[in-house]
């Protein structure tokens, strides 16, 4: 007894230490997650705002050719108006620096305005136009005034003009609608996620349309019909293995088979959807089988007992009961597919595409690939846009998973 007591304190200490290690491990992993979210959020929230300049644009009648409205020199309109604000700016390089404050996209905004309503030609309008990304960064405090002029992207004069504009209420941060309505662009202030989001939508639609029926059919066959033999064993082992094959290998498959053998178009959501279908199938099959398994045999036997055929028992009784579980699995598979990047790089969905895709065969990109592309861009403004795009993507993923959890909670049945 004494010998036990001697070691007891030490053993209890060790016990406590072990327990703390465990707690520490959990706290560590949760704080990693917290750090991830905080750093993305801190970088990204400012992208939802965008600096805009209020300019008095005089739509000079001479500039416009009635038959060819789109080819008018809209850039000159912006430049003239800027000059009107700072009449004392002289010299070629100063003028150029002044013009740099407004985004190159400002002329597109004007063009759109004129195309929509030709009546404004000849009048003078007050228009909020996007500012250049450097101005945007400066207003958000990412470019410091203390940095020597030579190391700064904006020189002292430009800073002075910006201060003047801000003081005059002509330069403000506004909600960034461009980010949600535009496609990709080389200019950060004009780049948006709409194209990528629509591409993601098409890709996921193709995936869902193919993967859900095929996955459920496979699960039903394996669980209800398949005889236990070599062939079904082979299928089972195969499915389990496919679930763990690296996603990039599916990309190689897509490249070699869909693009090179079948000659399908590059960068199309159709091909992306096919590749992601093959990738998510194992997830859906495994979840569906588990959900079929959880339907108690008594229901099956009761249906067979009143004279239903096997197929009738399955379609009328077992499938409806197993459907919530299958749907949960499918949503989780879809969430996986939404976040997947690597296989889509292989089939050429990394192209720089400005237009919003309109069909499943149009070249397009998807949200995660857009994030990857922006993360590679050198402009400081793209860092916050990348983070903002990540926030949008995570919001989608979290809501999908929340729906899955909700479905599981709502339809969960204990037999």
């Amino acid at each position: 007894m004494d010998r036990v007591n001697v070691g007891l304190a030490r053993r209890y200490r060790r016990e406590k230490r072990f327990r703390l290690f465990g707690l520490g491990a959990i706290i560590a992993s949760i704080s990693f997650l917290g750090l991830l979210f905080v750093s993305i959020g801190a970088n990204g929230w400012s992208a939802f705002q965008q600096a805009e300049i209020l300019l008095d644009i005089h739509f000079d009648t001479e500039q416009f050719d009635v038959d060819n409205l789109s080819s008018a020199n809209y850039g000159a309109l912006v430049k003239n108006s800027m000059k009107g604000l700072f009449p004392d700016v002289k010299g070629r390089s100063d003028t150029r620096n002044l013009h740099k404050l407004a985004s190159t996209g400002a002329s597109y905004v004007l063009q759109k305005m004129v195309m929509k309503d030709t009546g404004i030609i000849g009048s003078t309008q007050k228009v909020w136009l996007p500012a250049d990304d450097e101005v945007d960064m400066f207003l958000k405090g990412y470019i410091s005034r203390d940095v020597p002029e030579s190391d700064r992207r904006l020189n002292d004069k430009q800073v002075y003009w910006i201060d003047q504009l801000v003081a005059g209420g002509r330069l403000e941060k506004k909600f960034n609608t461009t980010f949600f309505t535009a496609g990709d662009s080389r200019e950060p202030e004009l780049a948006g996620i709409r194209g990528a989001a629509v591409g993601s939508f098409f890709t996921l639609a193709v995936t869902l349309l193919l993967a859900f029926p095929i996955g459920v059919a496979t699960a039903v066959y394996l669980e209800e019909f398949a005889p236990r033999n070599r062939w079904t064993d082979l299928i089972e082992v195969n499915i389990n293995n496919l679930a763990a094959v690296p996603s990039i290998v599916f990309g190689l498959l897509g490249l070699a088979v869909f693009l090179n053998v079948f000659g399908m178009p590059r960068s199309a959501p159709l091909v992306g959807g096919l590749v992601l279908t093959l990738m998510t199938l194992p997830t859906i099959i495994i979840a569906s089988r588990a959900s079929l398994k959880s339907v108690p045999p008594s229901i099956r036997e009761a249906a067979l007992g009143v004279g239903a055929s096997k197929m009738q028992a399955i379609t009328h009784h077992i499938l409806p009961l197993a459907l919530p579980g299958m749907m949960t699995g499918t949503i989780i598979g879809m969430a996986q597919a939404l976040g997947e990047t690597a296989p889509l790089l292989m089939i050429g969905m990394v192209a720089f595409i400005v237009d919003v895709p309109g069909a499943v065969t149009d070249p397009s990109t998807v949200l995660p690939v857009q994030i990857y592309l922006w993360a590679d861009s050198p402009e400081r403004a793209f860092v916050e846009r990348t983070s903002a795009a990540i926030m949008v993507l995570l919001a989608f993923l979290i809501s999908m998973n929340a729906v899955a959890v909700f479905l599981r909670k709502k339809f969960e049945r204990r037999w």
Binding site: Y12, E15, F18, R19, F21, G22, L23, A25, I26, A28, S29, I30, L33, L35, L36, S39, I40, I214, A217, T218, V220, Y221, L222, A226, L234, I235, N238, I239, N240, N241, L242, V245, P246, S247, I248, V249, F250, L253, A256, V257, N260, L278, L281, K310, M311, L338, G339, T341, A342, L345, M346, G348, P368, I371, Y372, A375, I390, L397, N401, V405
Partner: protein, 453 residues
């Protein structure tokens, strides 16, 4: 397609109303009326779809051949390459992609003809599909008798469909193996297998001209593999202790409230897209590692293996923890009780009883996590470098198999140079390595489960 779906609707409705109307109230019917309708509809759609599929596959070849025939004789006796080029030109013309002004008028004519034939073909296809659909539907429709075993018929068709769906899994694997293997064999015709597996120099450039400097690319996979294993190793040294300890804490110590909270939060870590981790690694972790390295007076590359490995470790924590959680829970309670009865503390029980009992399962989980780490792409693409250093220093930049595949295959490629084919050889290597790890892991886990069930 529109015609087919219209025919489908029509066939279904007609068959349904007729079989229902004719036999209403009659008990002599073998199956419920709906099955007769379904049978008609299925037979209406299937043959039409078959024709459609065959046309889709063959139309391109047939039309191109026909269009080529209209070209003057001089263009027929070309080498294979040149005629390929011609066909490509033709296709581009047809699709309206060409903006060039100097289009060969002969080619132009052929393209116009092609378009015309395509239009005719499409109309013909529609007519044929429509008539076949109607024909087969009405054939079935005529054969409907009360004693006809429609249900069995439909069920057999459905079952065949189910079997077809389940073979897709096999086809996928077969497709992966064949496509990767085929291209790899083509690569190994250029470069011997031994050079690939045991060469220590990796620079996958092929020169345009033979006399160019550094014209011979070298394809030794050893530096690439060592980089892969180093990053995965770092990831595992991060993930295994943290994952295992959190699994132990969650399953042995935590009360149900903490469990209900902490488990889903840990699973979020698994649900975050890898591209997000990659961005996180490049934006936050890599500068952090470099700065802290500089403070210690170390020379850290800005794309160090350490940063990528750390982030990848975070990513695979949930794999390790949820798999170990499962196996720890599967250890029978009686073993714990026996240990407590002998006076062991909880931690002693865990260390001496539970972990040894659960070890095979834990090892299986770690192996699965390792295969995940080896195949992981985006984190390393964004955070690890491209330079293939054969080094044991985790502070230097290394490259991995997946990074090389991505960099070699993204963008335009031609499919006859070793430079792109080597990507498939790397893919084959990756597939084999992960396959072996998976098979071992699944086998170990299954054996372990059977032991306690």
């Amino acid at each position: 397609m529109a015609i087919a779906s219209f025919a489908y609707m029509q066939g279904k409705r007609r068959a349904f109303s007729l079989s229902g109307g004719r036999l209403c109230g009659s008990r002599s019917l073998h199956s419920r009326p709906g099955y007769y309708g379904m049978l008609t509809a299925v037979w209406c759609v299937l043959p039409a779809l078959l024709v459609f599929g065959v046309w889709m596959v063959l139309s391109d070849t047939i039309l191109t051949a026909l269009a080529l025939k209209t070209l003057p004789v001089s263009m027929h006796n070309l080498s294979a390459d040149q005629s390929n080029l011609l066909v490509n030109d033709l296709r581009n013309l047809v699709a309206g992609h060409v903006a060039a002004k100097d289009i060969d008028p002969v080619l132009q004519q052929a393209a116009v003809q092609y378009q015309g034939m395509e239009r005719i073909g499409r109309v013909a296809l529609g007519v044929v599909m429509f008539s076949i659909a109607l024909l087969s539907a009405s054939l079935v429709y005529m054969r409907i008798r009360p004693e006809m075993r429609a249900r069995n018929h439909v069920e057999r068709i459905v079952q065949v469909g189910l079997v077809l769906c389940s073979t897709i899994a096999i086809l996928t694997t077969l497709g992966i193996v064949l496509s990767v293997l085929f291209e790899s064999i083509r690569f190994f015709q250029h470069v011997p297998v031994t050079d690939f597996l045991f060469g220590t120099k990796w620079s996958p450039q092929m020169a345009m001209r033979a006399d160019q400097a550094g014209s011979s690319g070298s394809f030794g996979a050893v530096p690439v593999l060592s980089g892969t294993f180093m990053i995965s190793g770092i990831a595992l040294t991060v993930a295994v202790p943290i994952g295992l300890m959190s699994a132990i804490y969650l399953s042995e110590y935590a009360n149900s409230r903490v469990r209900a909270w902490a488990k889903p939060v840990m699973e979020i870590l698994a649900g975050v897209p890898t591209v997000v981790y990659g961005f996180f690694a490049a934006l936050v972790v890599a500068p952090f590692v470099r700065n802290s390295g500089e403070m210690l007076g170390l020379n850290v590359s800005s794309e160090s293996a350490l940063a990528a490995g750390l982030v990848m470790g975070i990513m695979i924590i949930p794999f390790v923890s949820s798999l170990s959680d499962d196996v720890i829970n599967a250890v029978p309670q009686a073993m714990r009780d026996g240990s407590y009865g002998l006076g062991a503390t909880k931690s002693e029980t865990i260390m001496n009883v539970i972990i040894p009992a659960a070890l095979p399962g834990i090892v299986g989980g770690v192996l699965l996590a390792a295969s995940r780490a080896i195949g992981e792409t985006m984190i390393v693409v964004m955070a690890a470098g491209l330079s293939a250093n054969l080094t044991a220093n985790p502070l230097q930049a290394v490259t991995t198999v997946t990074v090389q595949i991505v960099t070699l295959l993204v963008g335009d490629q031609e499919f006859d140079s070793p430079k792109t084919l080597v990507a498939f050889a790397l893919g084959l290597l990756l597939f084999i390595v992960t396959l072996i790890l998976n098979v071992i892991a699944l086998y170990v886990v299954r054996k372990y489960r059977e032991e306690y069930e």
